[in-house]
Symmetry: C2
Subunit: 204 residues, 2 copies
């Protein structure tokens, strides 16, 4: 094609997909709807992406980058104690759960639910996003294990992935119940679990 690809158009298409997929899933979202939401022509869509599937996989990477920047800038990183950073991350995630599910739920978690078996490219991109995000917690969890002298029979990586499982499950409770409260409650259980693992609470 003779045109120069406009990166803003490409980002706009992927960001339209974030909202549409979180509202109704990937299969129910058409290329036409993505184009309409991004105010982009179908010709421009196919200038940037070969197919909806290719857009979905690229959008999973873009999701990792944009949410990654937001988490990078969040204040929980400032705490001196690594356990406070881990608990601060969890509290930050709980704070984000507010309003309509399409605003706070996870683009990649929703997409992989449907597409894991039918689209290896989407599956791989979603796993990259989820496991890559979890990876950013590993260093703080390891530092907390060392600082608190915990004789852990679990790995930092498995606890980091568990935080992601709880969040993904929380989103399903919110979608099913129609209430963000159910999701926040389950994230509070996660916080309590981490506190108990590190002996931070007098309860139990």
């Amino acid at each position: 094609m003779g045109r120069t690809a406009n990166p803003a158009t490409r980002d706009g298409l992927m960001e339209a997909a974030f909202d549409l997929v979180r509202a109704k899933g990937l299969a129910a979202t058409s290329v036409d709807e993505i184009c309409a939401a991004a105010s982009v022509s179908k010709g421009a869509f196919f200038h940037h992406f070969k197919s909806k599937e290719q857009l979905a996989a690229a959008a999973a990477d873009h999701w990792s980058e944009t949410t990654g920047r937001m988490f990078e800038a969040a204040p929980y990183h400032d705490a001196d104690d690594p356990l406070d950073r881990v608990l601060g991350y969890i509290a930050f995630r709980a704070q984000l759960i507010d309003g309509a599910p399409q605003a706070f739920t996870c683009f990649v978690g929703t997409m992989v639910q449907e597409a894991y078996a039918t689209s290896p490219a989407v599956q791989a991109a979603c796993w990259n996003s989820i496991s890559g995000h979890a990876e950013r917690l590993v260093e703080d969890i390891e530092a907390a294990v060392a600082r608190y002298g915990i004789d852990a029979d679990w790995s930092a990586r498995s606890l980091a992935l568990h935080t992601q499982a709880v969040l993904q499950g929380a989103f399903i409770l919110a979608k099913a119940s129609g209430e963000p409260e159910a999701a926040r409650d389950t994230v509070h259980h996660l916080k309590r679990y981490v506190e108990l693992l590190f002996g931070r609470t007098g309860r139990a």
Copy 2:
């Protein structure tokens, strides 16, 4: 319609939907595919259901009934100690995680992920299924709280729902990673959490 509805045909259609939806989601599953998988004509489908949406909502109820019977018959109910029954339930759930995700993941959790905003009937049926299943744990959790004299700042119902969130999140990890291991790991964290809540472990 003049024909008498055959309950076996109706169940067969719903059970075909269990497998198809768990493999690729609700929107990607067509009425034609459900009919083919159930070896039923399209006429017979519309004799039983007005639409795919109506089948999906009815199938969520059928899912609750069939999985409910399986859990009812599981051996973990036999333990004398209510905490052993709760931990036995979690161990039973971990055992079920094996093979391909379409065999062990949750029909209603997959469906609500896509359909919560577009189909109130499917959303309500999925929430009934998830919250109804959680409700069956509440009595054992309450009995364990009483038996172990736990001064809980959480409700039995919220812990029961948390178990469901972890399981739903575990299924997403399994689908994304392509490995049941990631799902089993997160269920082991849930087991450890319940043990810690009831002071059953020396670790931490």
